[in-house]
Amino acid sequence: MMDDFDDFQAVFFQECEELLGDLQDHLESIADGDFDAETLNAAFRAVHSIKGGAGAFGFDHLVNFAHIFETVMDKLRSDELDANPTVTKVLLRSNDVIADLVADAQNGAPPRDNVERVRLELEALINPAAADAAPVADAGQAAASTPAPAAPETQASQTAPEVLAEPEEEAEPTRDVTIRIAPGPEFIHSGHDMVKLIRAFKSMGDVRVETEGELPPLSDHDAVTTQLVWTLTLNTAETISEIEEFYDFYAHTADFTITDSSVAEEAVSAEAEPAAPVQEETVAEQAQDVQEQAQEPLEASSATVVELNVSSEGQVALDEVKAAVAQADAAEKAEKAAAPKATEAPKKAAASNKAAKTLRVELNRVDRLVNMVGEIVITQAVLNQKISEVDLPPNNQVAQAIEQLSHQTRELQESVMAIRAQPVKSVFSRMPRVVRDLADQLGKEVTLELAGEHTEVDTTVIEELAEPLTHMLRNSMDHGLEMPDAREAAGKPRCGTVWLTAEHRGERVTITLEDDGAGINRDRVLAKAIEKGIVPEEAQLTPEEIDMLIFAPGFSTAAAVSNVSGRGVGMDVVKKKVQALGGRVSLQNNPGKGAKFVITLPLTLAVLDGMTIGIGDERFVLPLGSVVEALKISDDVMETLPSGSHILRYRDNYIPLLSVRDLLGLDPALERESLAVVVETETDGKISLLVDELIGQRQVVLKSLEANFKRIEGISGATILGDGRVALILDVPALHALGTGHNVSALRKAS
């Protein structure tokens, strides 16, 4: 049972995550002024659903906050509150807080300090407008949305609660509200628990509980179907609609009937003229009988109100009531079908739409699929190799079939990878919050511009991306952007801008973080690096090399260690993380105008298009994307520098020529290599590598060396060739770093 409970809780948190994502989107559109009533409704529903679930699991802090948040959203919905910048700012902050609270609830952590502050901000939004108008408005609203027939009906069928609401406090008058709950068979099956529900109600006021119905003897007891009908008398200041929304989460599994004593009284007295209360009771009672017979969870809709008001004018035959109920029932069904905006229908409709479009699958199932496809790719390579060893006539059917198989395998693999692909949005959407928090903390004005959120990248890459991105963003805001006054003095707008964009570039994805701040102060960076002993004092560095120093381990320009950036972890951690993902970071510094960081990442960590090369007996794989061309080497294109290092003349340029043999400490060549492969390093331009032979291009499945061993410099991973042997995948930029003894490059190597 406990396991089930945990499962339900896990589902709740999963849903929360989605709801929070939606909520953030909606709130941001609201903040941008780009919204309509549906956006407000959707945002309201998101908060509301979180509250409902939280109530069921007894996360009180979350419920309390969500409740106030929801009240504000409701005011926005009903145009009582204007979505001006002050309001939207509070809303965005509330979104952050509610996300925190969900996380805290999940981790069992106590609520953070900011909860109370933001809660007060929200209350401030409610109160000025509500100070005197609220009770009236609430009552009006309650009366309007209270299912009128339900009121007398419930009241009649139970031991009469105290009818009069006695205002206890001046500010928030409470009165008794009775809620009759008849759990349907689905109630227990849906994982609900009456005790929890009742406890949740306690968050709104004092609760008195009575039950009707009889429990069968224990021998006949069926734990799942509950015969009892519960009547809660709640002494609360909440409006009926708020209470209704509160139990909305359960509404499809139990029959709820709510009566507001104060309104009921008004309603009764208002309707007293045409109908005697006694008669009404009878009718209502009969109506209820019908309802129970029908076993239909009938939600009182406006149609029912009209019908029963009419019928209550005199003694009405049971048949008529039946007809009325049936009609109301039909009306309700029709309403649900036709206008999904009614009551809880929108949620259901939304849910079913979603179910049709997406399917939630455990990641490890997909991983198994990915691994399997990887194996197929390898097996297919084996097949290819074996077939090529057999002497077959050209254009034979076997070769054709294999050719076809390889196309299909590739397609299969792409489809599987597409399952794992996820828009970077899930990471990007966390960034506005980082900016908001930090802007407050630093006293800077910052706008974050996101673009390309829909760019899709492999899930694993995305998960790993959040940390380095956050760090870079913090870095840009802390060190890059100037204080508003300084910006104004420099002729820039007071509010700084950070652009975060993602886009596909061939087989890789590029993520750019650019700011319009002061850029990197090279003098300061160099001085710092010398002070830290990262570079020798007499070092002659190019401006670009100085810029790259910020990625050096142990480098931090922050004079004081702030909790913003410079916590001992610096950009070197970012670089390491990105490299671990098979990516690179590069930097364009424009002193005075801003800085631009570019991260390029592979789309997937699982498969790679590679060029197999041979060096001696060993086989290596170069990422195909980095291979520019292969050249036969003759003496007239190869030069030796005085230091002994080789360079290659390549299209009017000289580029470094590196011996993979030497770099990797392989057995010396029997004869001099005759081929050079020109490769693009992304960070340091083109270089060329000496190899013995080019074997061919093929798709390879990336295997980790780290899983059972460790990372090896110059090698980004391994793969399994057609003959079952392991080939290492060369890490071109790292090889280049290995090959150049320059101090800055040596630093890069170390990182």
């Binding site: 295997k703 061993f709 090896i712 110059g714 391994a718 392991v726």
Partner: protein, 155 residues
Amino acid sequence: MSEEVKTENFDSKQYVTFVVGERLYGVEITAVREIKQWSPTTALPNQPVYTRGVLNLRGTIVPVHDLRARFGGMLTDATENHVIVIASIADQAVGILVDAVSDILNVSPDDTRSVPPSAREMDLEAISGLVARDDQMIALLDLTRLFPVNTFMAA
């Protein structure tokens, strides 16, 4: 043999023993995943001499170390008759190249002698105990210390 094993002292542990040259070594049987015939490995750049490279163990990449070379001997001239013991060290799979697998032994703690402190550091470090059987000494290996698992990045 397994029946005999079950009746043994509860405290005793089973060891897989193998031969390298004239010597016998033992590894706890619970650490041994499988034993496989030697197949050529792919050399890894810039690694210690005793690291023979990596091999493909049903789709995962497993490093192979030469036990003879690890104890300061020559590199084993591996042939099809040589054997790789695949062992688990802290959740990582590691291959150990040996000459041949010998036996499975029950060793009770009472039979285990510690390495004399006068021994060389390499022996002290990697050998958890010595067992005498049939006039032969078996060195029980402490794999975690013999082939430390690298979780950090190579410098």
